[in-house]
Symmetry: C2
Subunit: 209 residues, 2 copies
DNA sequence: GTCTATATGGGGATAGAC
DNA sequence: GTCTATCCCCATATAGAC
């Protein structure tokens, strides 16, 4: 079980993973097992190299983790920004919010190990690593705040909600789905839809629906 | 810094912490620093005893963590059940939901290290420890499912929402506040109110409000 | 770029004195 | 109940050969 878990990319080069390959594997392992449980030995083994070789690509474990964290935010940020900017001119506030929510959730639950790893391990890494990730996080948060402010200014959102608090609640709630989401019980797309329904209109039964 | 951090309970007994005292300290450290960063040596030092002495009270680190996790759920479960059962006869569905949300959030954000430690470290502990906590978690989840089903059956909640999914979204969102809640920016009580507003009625501005 | 070998430190856990 | 002493394992990280 310990000697042949690595899958080589192809046969011409023996373990031609490179820096990015190591990073991909690290992101996957961090997402699956958390920060504390993933040692450099595990990463190396999964990459088909020896632990010491990692230090050719990275200066420390923290450097790997920091790179994973930054990439994770960038992926979801990109996904959200594109989803909103691609909307046709004149799209209504509700549809804009749904697009943003969907993009965030899809980046998290589908495909990307980096963004899910970020959410999963951010609270587990050393303080210095968290601090290093803060600027990148801040940029994404600012994107959300700008979007929410815009919608509030045009009168689409209730005016008594604090934007920062609203953003924290929204992103926090979306990120929490990572802990229990199961694709066998419904797609990320469907979950995104349910979530937007609840967040936009609430769960109480109303006369006007 | 390493020799006198322990505060003795009183002067008559030197480090009379006992099993419960060790557990209290462990819960606080787990909440503050996460599972991986808290060693038995740290717990012992904070308790004013030596690491080896821990094994008089507990058989392993996992046994300590498991005890903390179970107590954490029990506290929040108790808090939520009492808050709902104390409501006067004939309380409306909306007020019932607000009470349950408030109780969960207060147990998490005020006072209790155990419940916040549970949320914080559950995803970090070994699989066997997580499994041991599942029955206790399940009982609390069942309490929520029963409450939500009841409200849906009397027509207070939208009828197209899956109860399990609704509970996962709700509790997940509430738990996420732990990551960013800051008492200097508003009380847990106030946050609970904002949260209930959003969850019950949504964030879109509506004509009927 | 990757290897082997190793330094160094900290972790959980146990044994036996007091 | 707590101490000291110690075992054993695994972690990050480094050095130098290939």
């Amino acid at each position: 079980m310990a000697q042949n878990t690595a899958i080589k990319v192809n046969e011409t080069s023996r373990s031609a993973v490179g820096r990015d390959g190591v990073l991909d594997i690290a992101a996957r392992l961090f997402r699956e097992q958390g920060y504390g449980s993933v040692s450099l030995r595990k990463i190396a083994e999964a990459a088909g190299i020896k632990a010491g070789s990692i230090y050719y690509h990275f200066g420390s474990k923290d450097e790997i983790v920091a790179a994973v964290l930054d990439a994770g935010i960038q992926v979801v940020h990109e996904s959200m920004r594109e989803a909103v900017s691609e909307l046709p001119e004149g799209t209504g506030p509700e549809a804009i919010l749904r697009a943003a929510i969907g993009a965030h959730l899809r980046a998290l639950l589908d495909v990307c190990d980096y963004s899910s790893a970020n959410v999963r391990i951010f609270g587990q890494v050393p303080q210095s690593v968290r601090d290093a990730n803060l600027p990148t996080r801040g940029a994404y948060e600012a994107e959300w705040d700008a979007l929410l402010s815009r919608l509030q200014n045009v009168g689409a959102l209730k005016s008594d909600v604090d934007i920062r608090r609203l953003r924290l609640m929204l992103i926090g709630a979306l990120n929490a789905t990572l802990e229990w989401f199961d694709p066998d019980r419904g797609s990320a797309e469907a979950l995104s839809c349910t979530y937007a329904d609840v967040f936009l209109n609430g769960i109480l039964k109303r006369q006007d629906i």
